[in-house]
């Protein structure tokens, strides 16, 4: 449906005068030619690519592994990234875990996922003019209607626009670099900051944590690496628009954020730009280490297209006096399973999860939060708002766990669900495991339906049914949306209005 699968550019390869398997072998280097995992590199072939294409457009090469996943594919990815052995070993260890781990026996229905049909790595080529037209009409129409600025359109349509986002990023980076802040891709981090990466990578979410975390660890590509030095407050948010580029295909991005003692950072991902992916599986891993006294806020608004399985593992550890906040908006995807977690490891740590889910036609949003109180005098707040409509299923699945022998634990969980029509479903599955006595824990769950009286009231003032419905939904979300930065709040409201449009009643 969008950039990642380079069907066009791949098809163009034979025009360069060589069958695709030959340069593939050349590019793969050490990989045996008889079992080439790389489908079709366009310009990495030294005979053609470097000379005719590679030189002028070195970043516009196209690689794509063949369908399915095995050791050769993993090795090829690692090879392409010129990784050190320890990262390759890590990938292979995770691949083995992926093979052994069962599918989750709970949550959204994942039975349609065919791991053999998935392409696990694609390095998209630049899509020059005309590429926007290759997108399905509904996507074009969506962009037109939500008025995404031209720059963002470019960004989503091809590689060039991705450079647009890097220009923004670089203009910030100069400023941040002076303070010692590191903000780069994890690939760059592996090369330039190996000590930090080796120290923290996979420590919050082990390679065998769950099937999808194992998968990500085996084939990860792209994402972000952030390090904020001691005492540094990054006062403007770091923004990582979902990058569908050669560093981060988007499906298996890997993010590692380390906030050193007393620092602050707000990292925003996805956000205003709806993300559309051709492939059907997105499985990210986000690890956050909030060292003592630091504060990290991580905001996401995911708006995947409706054929994407979005199975993401996000987890943070918060040490003494640190605060970790997840703001997690789930609007798109076919199935989402995502439960941002905070492990409160030191006294005075605070964890917070704000979660917004919208489940429309054919969608299942299985989202929530996981809070582990592993130290005394720690506190947590979980606020979840979900909307289900047109047969959608929105489920809150949450866990609050308090370890043994702890004192002064406070936790509050509030789940609000709005059901727009009788065809739609809302579920709440809260779990609490409390092994200490000195614990103040609250849980509230409310389910409401858009009442005929509310709709009629707004209609009687001249608003059509769809607009009235959207207004009620936006009002329901308002308390959470207020916590987002203004531009994202506006965008979220627009997305909700789009979701509500034309399908009521």
């Amino acid at each position: 449906m969008s950039a990642p699968v380079p069907a066009g550019p791949v098809a163009a390869v034979p025009a360069a005068g060589k069958p695709s398997s030959v340069p593939a072998a050349a590019a793969a280097g050490p990989v045996a030619a008889s079992s080439v995992p790389i489908d079709a590199p366009a310009s990495a072939d030294p005979g053609v690519g470097e000379y005719q294409f590679g030189f002028s457009y070195p970043d516009k090469s196209v690689f794509r592994t063949r369908k399915g996943l095995d050791e050769e594919v993993v090795r090829a990815i690692s090879e392409l990234k010129e990784e050190p052995d320890w990262m390759l070993a890590n990938r292979l260890r995770a691949l083995a875990a992926f093979g052994k781990k069962p599918m989750p026996a709970w949550g959204a229905d994942l039975s349609d996922i065919d791991f053999d049909e998935i392409v696990y790595y694609a390095r998209p080529q630049d899509r020059p003019k005309g590429s926007w037209d290759e997108l399905p009409e509904e996507i074009r129409e969506t962009y037109r209607r939500i008025g995404v600025p031209e720059a963002e359109r470019k960004f989503l349509a091809g590689v060039g626009a991705q450079y647009d986002s890097e220009i923004v990023y670089h203009s910030i980076r100069a400023d941040l670099e002076k303070k010692g802040v590191i903000f780069c891709s994890p690939e760059v981090a592996v090369k330039e900051h190996p000590d930090l990466v080796r120290k923290y990578f996979g420590t919050v979410i082990p390679h065998n944590d769950n099937k999808f975390a194992a998968l990500n660890t085996a084939v990860w590509s792209g994402g972000s690496f952030v390090y904020v030095p001691k005492g540094v407050k990054v006062d403007i948010p770091l923004q990582a628009y979902f990058r569908i580029n050669s560093e981060s295909f988007g499906q298996f991005e890997r993010t590692l954020i380390i906030a050193d003692e007393g620092s602050f950072v707000h990292y925003i991902e996805g956000c205003t730009a709806p993300v559309y992916a051709t492939d059907s599986l997105h499985s990210a891993v986000v690890e956050i280490i909030a060292l003592p006294g630091s504060r990290v806020r991580y905001s996401t608004i995911q708006n995947w297209s409706s054929d994407v399985y979005n199975l993401v593992t996000k987890r943070a550890v918060a040490y003494a006096g640190a605060t970790m906040e997840w703001v997690d908006g789930n609007i798109g995807s076919k199935r989402t399973m995502k439960y941002p977690a905070v492990f409160l490891m030191g006294e005075g740590a605070h964890g917070e999860v704000l979660s917004i889910a919208f489940a429309g036609k054919g969608q299942e949003q299985d989202t929530g939060a996981k809070i582990i109180h592993a130290a005394s005098n720690t506190s947590s707040t979980v606020t979840s708002k979900s909307i289900s409509k047109d047969g959608g299923v929105a489920s809150y699945r949450g866990m609050v766990k308090v370890g043994e022998g702890l004192r002064g634990i406070r936790s509050r969980v509030v789940c609000d669900a709005l059901i727009v029509d009788p065809r739609s479903t809302s579920n709440t599955w809260p779990t609490m495991e409390v092994l200490s006595d000195d614990v103040a824990m609250e849980h509230e769950a409310r389910v409401s339906k858009i009442g005929d009286e509310q709709l009629f009231y707004l209609q009687s003032r001249g608003l059509g049914e769809a607009e009235a419905s959207a207004m009620i939904v936006n009002g329901f979300l308002d308390p959470l949306v207020k916590q987002l930065p203004m531009e994202y709040a506006v965008e979220l409201n627009r997305l909700i209005e789009l979701e509500m449009e034309g399908s009521v009643g």
Partner: protein
């Protein structure tokens, strides 16, 4: 705009409530609608506005010659019909300012379209000026601009908010469903003043009430009495005094004096 109702019959959940309403409200006039509890007054207001719970069985209702019964509620509103609700609902998270802006905008746009004019968009600062002035007039604190619509409002605040909306939307015909109920005398005066402010050749109203006190402030041109789903007595303001003094017994007797109607009712009930 004249509101003309002819032989209107409506039911809720299969139960007939309106049993043949004939009623005309002339443009620029204010009619009071009184009657015992359960006689169908609120039903009439809701049926006219298009509440989905009520089914129109037969009859017609036209506003300025347009049959409104076939229109969705918002189109009735855009024609100039307004219902001040007896129990306004709360809309969490939707501010008064945001909601009213859209409502006013929709109304302006519809008016422009009806007049064959191009709608150039809303003058937001003029809107806000007008809103503040209307709030001052209605004794609604300006802080309510940013409060969620009706959420946590007292009964009196909700009623003032209804009339405030009416002032902003400038309907051609307002249905005021017991807007006076539960108000203290000061609030009652303000609510009546709001309606009086709109009074003029382009504004008509049907004021549903149990009490004469609002009618002392909001002098009706005519008074209709409803009983068991029909208008049984109509007259001038003097009717209000008689109802106040004698109650509804004589109305019941008068209705009972029409045996043919009773038979019809009985037949309907057994049908």
């Amino acid at each position: 705009m004249d509101l003309v109702i002819r032989n209107l019959r409506a039911s809720v959940a299969g139960k007939p409530i309106l049993r043949g309403i004939d009623l005309e409200i002339r443009a620029g006039s204010v009619a009071a609608l009184m009657g015992p509890n359960g006689s169908g007054k609120s039903t009439l207001a809701n049926v006219l506005m298009g509440h989905p719970a009520y089914a129109v069985e037969s009859g017609s209702a036209t506003l300025g010659g347009v049959d409104v019964l076939g229109l969705p509620p918002h189109e009735r509103a855009l024609l100039g019909l307004f219902l001040a609700f007896q129990y306004p609902v709360e809309i969490p998270g939707v501010t008064v300012a945001k909601f009213l802006k859209r409502a006013v905008e929709a109304r302006e746009e519809a008016s422009a379209r009806a007049a064959g004019r191009e709608y150039g968009g809303m003058d937001v600062s003029a809107y806000l000026r007008e809103l503040r002035a209307a709030m001052d007039f209605m004794g609604v604190d300006r802080s309510f601009i940013n409060r969620a619509l009706n959420e946590g409002f007292s009964g009196g605040e909700k009623k003032r908010m209804e009339v405030l909306q009416m002032l902003m939307l400038k309907p051609r015909l307002a249905l005021m469903d017991e807007t006076d109920s539960g108000l203290d005398i000061d609030a009652l005066k303000v609510v009546a003043a709001g309606a009086n402010r709109l009074r003029g050749p382009d504004f008509g109203a049907l004021v549903i009430t149990h009490y004469n006190r609002i009618l002392e402030h909001l002098k009706p041109d005519v008074v209709h009495v409803m009983y068991k789903g029909r208008i049984v007595v109509s007259g001038g303001p003097e009717l209000v005094e008689r109802l106040e003094g004698e109650g509804y017994d004589w109305v019941r007797e008068e209705a009972a004096a029409a045996p043919a109607e009773i038979e019809a009712l009985a037949a309907e009930a057994s049908a």
